[in-house]
């Protein structure tokens, strides 16, 4: 199942990846090969099979509504490339 160059570039844009020309073509081939491999499953009749989203069929566990502060803001901020006081500093987002 061939995937087009445009699709590869679209997915890359959504993932905020910049692809050089050569790499876009290489990824197009690789992604096409993967999709072809998975496409073998189409030979099975799955009309009455519910899509599997999880490997085990139990419900999600719950937690009680109790506050337990993490208490180490510095550890969170330490991972950020930039900060100002206690905030993460990020490039300005242009809305328009």
């Amino acid at each position: 199942m061939a995937i087009t160059r445009e699709e590869v570039l679209h997915v890359a844009r959504l993932a905020r990846l910049s692809l050089p020309e050569a790499e876009a073509e290489r990824l197009r081939e690789q992604l096409s090969a993967i999709l072809d491999y998975v496409k073998q499953l189409d030979r099975l009749d799955t009309r009455d099979v519910v899509p599997t989203s999880h490997a085990i069929e139990t419900g999600t566990p719950f937690r009680d509504d109790v506050v337990r502060p993490f208490g180490d803001r510095e550890a969170l901020l330490a991972n950020a490339p930039d900060r100002l006081n206690d905030c993460f500093r990020v490039p300005r987002i242009i809305e328009d």
């Binding site: 085990i56 937690r63 506050v67 300005r92």
Partner: protein
């Protein structure tokens, strides 16, 4: 050409939980930046979300109160997009299988009732807050505070059943009342606990297909929602009449300018690539849990209005004002239980002192005593008002103040006789005039006697005594 408007509303309500939806951070408003954040809600590698049971219960109770069908199995999905207020680069939401489907809310319009359908209710997490650095357009950076990340929300999506901005406003107010009654949301619009987006389109009357819709955002009060809808409807109608076409887009309401402004975004910004979140198993809600929660649903606003009107014989309008806040209706019922009398008077007093009632500075006894003393003629309406104000400023009981201040009305006829005689003796001309047929002079005499008594005489009794003396 005549146009019809079609409005559907999406409400995001913050659920009243102490901790976040998938981690144990506090949801408290106004904490220092990033004080309520942890590795889970900031999307650190290797962490796992665990669902808050209370958040689920709040959503199920809302579903029951709006006649939705609670789904036995629902699934959390990832909504993928890049934005710095969302450190995971996806929001955990529900997509194809939400927790509740197919309900309704009844609103009151033009004296009748209209049923507004609810398409679905799903749970999701909130995103963080961005503050733009500096006041200048040239600011280079934004500051991210992730305290709101993963605060539990439910999104309530209506059917496109509303036809006017007023219906939109009525639906929002009713839904707001329901959530606050249930205690599942504090309803605070300024703090963003109750937010609304609107889908609005117009179509020529008689056309079945919907027109192209615009999505309106950024309306932080009921009034702003109505105003934004009014503006947008006018804009779309004028556009079509001028031969233009409405384009599907998101528009922001600018409350200062009173206009909606197009918020251009690249087409692919809406390519969210939803898929089931592998970190969260399906949410299973069994029937016994639903039934247990059904038992916790209090009387809803519409039922309360009908019951108050019926049980106390007060006008529906008054019942509506009382029931607009559960605490006010409870206060009214508590007052009416202490002193029955005429519940309409009690209702008026509750509405008059609404701010104090809701602030918790008045007790039902105060209003009950004020109404009782007035109806028995012990005090005047003016004295009643003065005394309630004194209760608020001193904190002393109503009747203690009444006796201390000597504000009881003079109702015994012998002392009134003395006052009436004095007034009549001082105004021979008016007495003559009255006896000659100028009936309007009676109020002059009443006023004089009231003045003489320094407001303490019972005006009704004064009239009776005067009529007897002059007749």
């Amino acid at each position: 050409m005549a146009f019809e408007t079609v409005i559907g509303l999406e409400v995001h309500a913050q659920l009243s939980t102490r901790s976040k939806i998938f981690c144990a951070c506090s949801t408290a408003f106004g904490a220092p930046p990033n004080a309520n954040a942890c590795p889970v809600c900031t999307g650190m590698p290797g962490v796992l979300p665990v669902l808050n049971r209370k958040a689920v219960e709040c959503t199920i109770r809302t579903a029951l109160a709006t006649s939705c069908t609670v789904q036995r199995r629902s699934v959390f999905a990832r909504k993928n997009y890049f934005y710095p207020d969302l450190p995971k680069a996806y929001q955990i939401s529900q997509y194809e299988l939400p927790v509740a489907l197919g309900g309704h809310v009844d609103i009151e319009v033009d004296g009748g009732t209209k049923r507004i359908g609810i398409t679905r209710i799903h749970m999701e997490e909130d995103a963080g807050k961005l503050v733009h650095e500096g006041e200048f357009a040239g600011a280079q950076a934004s500051l991210a505070d992730l305290n709101r990340c993963s605060v539990p929300l439910m999104e309530i999506v209506s059917e496109p059943d509303m036809r006017t901005p007023e219906e939109g406003g009525a639906y929002l107010r009713r839904l707001h009342d329901i959530l606050v009654y249930l205690g599942v949301c504090d309803g605070n619009m300024e703090e963003g606990s109750f937010r609304c987006d609107a889908n609005v389109s117009v179509r020529p009357v008689g056309q079945v297909a919907f027109g192209t819709k615009a999505e309106l955002k950024n309306m932080n009060s009921f009034r702003n929602v109505e105003k934004a809808l009014e503006y947008e409807i006018r804009r779309q109608v004028e556009l079509i009449e001028d031969g233009g076409k409405v384009v599907q887009e998101t528009r922001l309401w600018d409350a200062n300018a009173g206009v909606t402004v197009s918020m251009r975004r690249k087409e692919e910004a809406h390519d969210y690539r939803y898929f089931p979140d592998p970190d969260l198993l399906p949410l299973i809600v069994d029937e016994s849990w639903v039934e247990e929660l059904r038992g916790t649903i209090p009387e809803m606003p519409a039922e309360k209005i009908a019951r108050l009107a019926r049980q106390y014989g007060i006008p529906r309008y008054d019942a509506g004002i009382l029931a607009s806040t559960r605490a006010l209706a409870d206060f009214f019922e508590a007052s009416a239980a202490i002193y029955g009398g005429n519940p309409k008077t009690t209702a008026n007093e509750c509405v008059h002192w609404k701010d104090a009632v809701l602030a918790g500075t008045l007790s039902p006894e105060t209003i009950a005593h004020a109404v009782e003393d007035r109806e028995r003629g012990t005090i005047s309406a003016t004295a009643s008002k003065t005394l309630v104000e004194l209760v608020l400023s001193t904190g002393k009981p109503f009747r203690t103040l009444r006796d201390e201040q000597g504000l009881t009305q003079v109702s015994d006829t012998s002392s009134l006789d003395i006052l009436v005689d004095k007034v009549l003796a001082a105004s021979p001309k008016e007495v003559e005039g009255y006896r000659a047929g100028k009936a309007g002079l009676l109020s002059f005499f009443v006023g004089q006697v009231m003045k003489e008594s320094r407001g303490k005489a019972n005006p009704k009794m004064v009239q009776e005594v005067l009529k007897k003396r002059l007749g």
